[in-house]
Amino acid sequence: MKSYNKRIFDSFKSQVEDAVDHHGQPLQVRQRNTFVIFLKFLTVMKPYWDKVLLVVLVVCGSMTMNVIWPWMGKILIDEALPDKNWRLFWILVVARLSLIAFGRIMGLFNQFFTRYIDLWVFGDLRTRFFDHLVRLSMTFMQNRPTGEHIYRAGSDIWGVMFMITDLLPRLLEAIFEFFLIMILLTYVDWRVMVIILLYMVPYTMLVHWITSLVRKYDREARTKWQRTTAILQDGVAGKMVVKTFARRRHEVRKFMSANVDAWRTQIKRRYTFILKGQLVGNWGFLPWIMGWLIRAWFFRQAILGHITYGSLLPIFSYMNRFRNPFQRIVNLVQQLRVSMVPAERIMQTLDVAPVVVNAPNAPDMPPLQGHVRFEDVYFSYEEDVPILQGLDFTIIPGQKVAFVGHSGAGKSTVLNLLLRLYDPAEGRVLLDGTDVREVRMESLQQQVGLVFQETFLFIGTIRDNILFANTNATDEMIWEALREAELDEFVHSLPKGLDTDLHEGTSLSGGQKQRLGIARALVRNPQLLVLDEPTSSLDSDTEVRVLETLRKVMKGRTTIIISHRLPTVVDADVIFAMDKGRVVEAGTHAQLFAEGGYYADLYTTYFAGKHAGENDEDD
């Protein structure tokens, strides 16, 4: 385990160092040449070069041995059997048996090392990709659906793996065999060799044409199947609508006609497969007729007495194999082209440099006091859509501060910048007087207690989920946090207590989840508590109760609350009302309400509902 960790952290280091070079550059996806991608992926084999070399040698060795047997067969047929030469017979038997045994030993070597390289490279690739991915900016993560990232980190890597550890060796093997047999066959009868080489020109062209046809229908069919799935997903996910609008027949018909349509293309696609198999496949017409003609030619030679029957054995055996590696090369190259697609997708992710990274040799953040200052901060997620436009405020340790405002005012962005999920475009974010960019971000983030609108629960037990925030926490500290979050009784009531597994089956209610989130934040005993819409996803009864708990928890801690639910914020020491990326009003609830400005307006809309809306026709 030790060495694993060391290797991982080495790779972290190089990752981070790499990233520093790109620091500050905008996200960009470079267009790469297929060959470059290919070479880039080959470099993952580098740490295992000695084993790779061994495998290559073993494969070449056993292949050379394979060509020996047909010659022994010739001797058997031509000399031993007709002449009843028992001595020769037994020599051949022993030679064959030892050849087989030796070949197997080589094969085992090969299998052992190939497997090793397979698994180790696969492991490296996956961990490296994941490591890279989670360090990328939130913008990158959120620009694509979660499923796509998962797909890339899972299936696509499998695809690339398949390319590196399966296709590639097979390709090399086939190429080697191709040349070996070509030499031998030329030695037996060079005219046949010339004919085979000539035949390969139209053959290759044909393969190419059919493959492009196959690919065309492949693509078409895939699009149609995806449409079918989309319709299905729609229908199942929208079950409430389908039921309440009585639209079952409509949905079923929609799905079926998509299915029928997809099958139409699917059948065409399969016809192209038949065409491919029957014409150029391993047992297809062209290869067969070629073999048939050559066979006929040699048989005729044998009948006419130009060669012995036994010498047909090595010839046919080589010919078979010759046809084989050549087809294999053609097929493998096609497959290689297909598997470049996942490789390219992975490169698209790997090519993006993390934007928010630690400065070189950044020191750790000293224990937090809770003094927060935003100095004239400008920020935007996308160009042309400014979010923060000169945000400026100060929070004094021990204060309880709330940010309110309409959606889109930039409330949550405050949190993103404070926690350094993003860096500001202009201005500074200071914590206890230190620019957050000058310290190691983990050391800062780990001192903050954070509660999100939706508490994300990780796979594992309740304990695992709390330890996530503070890996050093003792059971006592966990219970203390649960007590503060007022979840201790519930956890006590569970048969397995802290060890209750939270996987998808066990359902916590919304309120329990939020309380667990609060316990997770508290187990760090943080000086700074950041609550991002902590009760917005709860119904109003639960909200009231969770708020009670939060009020107790906030005592003695610097607290930042972001919320559009105003009951959450009324008792804050300072309320910052935000609009269009700035603080427009600041003060206690009573002050702001008396002022009758932006906040008061927000407030009446919230509590008086539509009646306030009616007075205010211009919004």
């Binding site: 991982i8 972290f12 031993a80 059997l81 038997v93 064959r96 085992l108 497997r115 698994l119 180790w120 696969f122 996956r126 961990t127 989670v134 360090r135 979660t146 998962i150 799935t229 319709i231 299905l232 729609d234 199942v236 409430m240 609508v241 309440t244 609008f245 009585a246 639209r247 079952r248 027949r249 409509h250 079923v252 018909r253 929609k254 799905f255 079926m256 029928v260 048939w292 005729r300 009948i303 029957y309 309409h406 926690l419 999920l421 971000m441 983030q445 903050v448 994300f456 990780f458 796979i459 996530f468 109003s540 009864d541 927000l602 809309t605 509590f607 509902g609 539509k610 009646h611 809306g613």
Partner: protein
């Protein structure tokens, strides 16, 4: 799109093209001769029955196999003749040998073409079966799925229902039940047939050799199966590890904001890495074990026998019992016997594996829809809009009653809001009115007709429903609004959008109503709700149901939508649920539900004056506003 149908009247009758027999065979109370058989066989046979309508094609496929296989075997014998009679028979005159040679060549060519032609035909018929059965099975399944209760649909994630509809029936890589029927069965037939042919011919050439093959193949197959079970445990461990890896990966990516916000990137990466390495360790163990069993133990046994046979055959040639030609084809025959035997064992395993998705499909298919139209149900006449709940009792779980004697009457044109603490049964009231569930006792009446006595579609068609989250279907704005009334024309669509106050927004977009919602268009929560309202309004419903229609919006948007809703509810019976009391103050009547009964009812003012549960909730929600 096949026929945009208008109203669907009979909910009970399945859509055309559904396999009723498959649907009903597993229902409780349907006795059948199959019951005596084992569970797996029963499942298997039920799906095989899908072939019945296409038995002519299936028989044709079998016939093609019957003819094609011997052609291949005869080809082998031609080869023997070629070697023994033509090439090595030096006594015969050369001209005769050459004539015979050309004859054999020609026959080979003809055989090849026949053999492959029949193979192609077989494939084409196979495709036809694949397509027909796949469509029918999916159709049956999907139709059935939508007749099942909301409770069942919600008991499993969306992805699982989808998986059963697609991958379990006909998935990628020829996985799925349909391929079990259309591929595996003919395959099994062909293999058995080939084994019989190759075995028979081998006996004809050298029966002792044939005996050796048979005698050794049986224990060999058994032994390899035994070794396979030895590996199973490790394989299972590996599967578990792989699942854990995938789960951690998903976790890390889904929860990335939490991971980053908590400064736990390194921790999460380390956790994943350790899991990957753990998985790799098990994988390596498995790889080594399978190398030991397959590449060493099994291989050695296999080689001992094959090489023994080779030496024996060569020995028989030396002693003059076998000709050289026979020696050449004996090995081909042995291979032709061995390979189908191995394949057959694998095929049996694969069929057993395919039974797992088969069982999964049946698990859903055999659930009897609970809520169906009564056999004598008639469509309801045009609704006036009177709704009555008469002593309604209902529970999802018998231990936890939700409604306990609810009595509410809503007069035509009245707007009524249902409020109450969470868990009081507000939403249940709506569900019962829409007949998503049936009452345990009591009655739900529309215009004094119990809804269980009329066809569901006929009254659902006259209701408009807006839910908390509006599910938008793939397609254009028009498609989504028209969903409420499939035969509506463009003018009606625009009219509904105008009433829902979304018309201007749609018009302002590049393609207007024909804009595809899927393509990079992000609608705000308010816009989505307005579309939901338009969808409900296009049917000009007599009864409007609003289930927390504004709960997921922020307060500014909420109050705009509430204003729209107040406009559209004029002249319609409206039932509304909300936990935000400020949004319902404008209703004609507010019904407070607590513990499954009506606790109090009246207008906002009356209820406040009443100083009951409503007053309590109001104060709690507006706390702070009193300062």
């Amino acid at each position: 799109m096949s026929a945009v149908a208008g109203t669907d009247i009979e909910q009970n009758t399945p859509v055309e093209g559904v396999d009723v027999e498959l649907l009903e065979a597993g229902r409780v109370g349907k006795a059948s001769r199959l019951d005596k058989l084992g569970r797996e066989t029963r499942t298997f046979l039920r799906f095989v029955k899908l072939l019945l309508p296409y038995k002519d094609k299936a028989i044709l496929i079998m016939l093609l196999i019957l003819v094609a296989v011997p052609l291949g075997e005869i080809g082998l014998f031609l080869f023997r003749v070629l070697v023994d009679e033509v090439v090595l028979n030096f006594d015969r005159p050369i001209g005769e040998r050459l004539t015979l040679f050309y004859l054999i060549l020609g026959t080979q060519l003809i055989f090849w073409i026949l053999h492959h032609g029949m193979g192609v035909l077989r494939q084409i018929f196979g495709f036809y079966l694949d397509m027909k059965i796949s469509i029918k099975l999916r159709h049956t399944f999907y139709n059935h799925l939508h007749t099942l209760s909301l409770g069942f649909l919600r008991s499993r994630p969306v992805g699982e229902h989808m998986y059963r509809t697609t991958a379990d029936t006909t998935g990628g890589g020829r996985q799925g039940v349909v391929y079990m029927i259309t591929d595996d069965i003919p395959q099994a037939f062909s293999l058995v047939y080939r084994i019989v042919w190759a075995g028979g011919l081998l006996i004809a050439v050298d029966w002792k050799l044939a005996m050796v093959v048979v005698v050794y193949m049986i224990p060999y197959t058994g032994f390899s199966h035994y070794l396979y079970t030895l590996l199973k445990g490790t394989m299972r461990q590996l599967k578990i590890q792989q699942q854990r890896c995938a789960a951690l990966l998903r976790d890390g990516i889904r929860g990335v904001k939490t991971v980053k916000g908590f400064g736990r990137v390194n921790y999460q990466v380390l956790k994943y890495t350790q899991q990957v390495y753990e998985e790799r360790r098990v994988w390596w163990k498995w790889a080594m074990l399978s190398m030991l069993t397959h590449s060493i133990v099994l291989w050695t046994i296999h080689q001992l026998v094959t090489q023994g046979m080779w030496i024996y055959a060569a020995y028989r040639v030396m002693t003059g019992h076998l000709s050289v030609g026979e020696y050449m084809i004996v090995f081909a025959l042995v291979r032709r016997l061995e390979r189908p035997l191995e394949q057959f064992v694998k095929l049996m395993q694969s069929i057993r594996m395919q039974l797992v998705p088969a069982e999964r499909i049946l698990e859903t298919l055999d659930v009897t829809p609970e809520i169906v139209d009564a056999p004598d149900a008639e469509p309801i006449a045009t609704i006036q809009g009177r709704v009555e709940f008469r002593d309604v009792h209902f529970s999802y779980d018998p231990e936890k009653p939700v409604l306990r004697g609810l009595n509410v009457t809503v007069e035509p044109g009245e707007s009524v809001a249902f409020v109450g603490p969470s868990g009081a049964g507000k939403s249940t009231v709506m569900y019962l009115l829409m007949r998503l569930y049936d009452v345990d006792s009591g009655q739900v009446l529309i215009d004094d007709t119990p809804i269980q006595t009329v066809t569901m579609d006929s009254f659902l068609d006259q209701m408009g429903v807006v839910l908390q989250e509006t599910h938008l279907f793939g397609g254009t704005f028009t498609d989504n609004i028209r969903y409420g009334k499939l035969q509506a024309d463009d003018e009606e669509v625009a009219q509904a959008a105008r009433m829902a106050e979304i018309h201007e927004f749609i018009e302002s977009l590049p393609d207007g109503y024909e804009r595809d919602l899927g393509e990079g268009l992000k609608l705000s929560g308010g816009q989505q709700q307005r579309l939901g309202i338009a969808r409900a309004l296009i049917r000009d419903p007599r009864i409007l149901l609003l289930d927390e229609a504004t709960a997921s919006l922020d307060s500014r948007i909420e109050c705009q939508i509430v204003r729209t809703i107040e406009k559209i509810m004029r002249g319609r019976t409206t039932l509304m649920i909300s936990h935000r009391l400020v949004t319902v103050t404008g209703c004609d009547r507010i019904v407070v539900i607590d513990e499954g009964r009506v606790a109090e009812q009246g207008t906002h003012r009356e209820l406040l004056a009443n100083d009951g549960l409503y007053k309590l909730m109001w104060d709690e929600q507006t706390r702070g506003a009193a300062d």
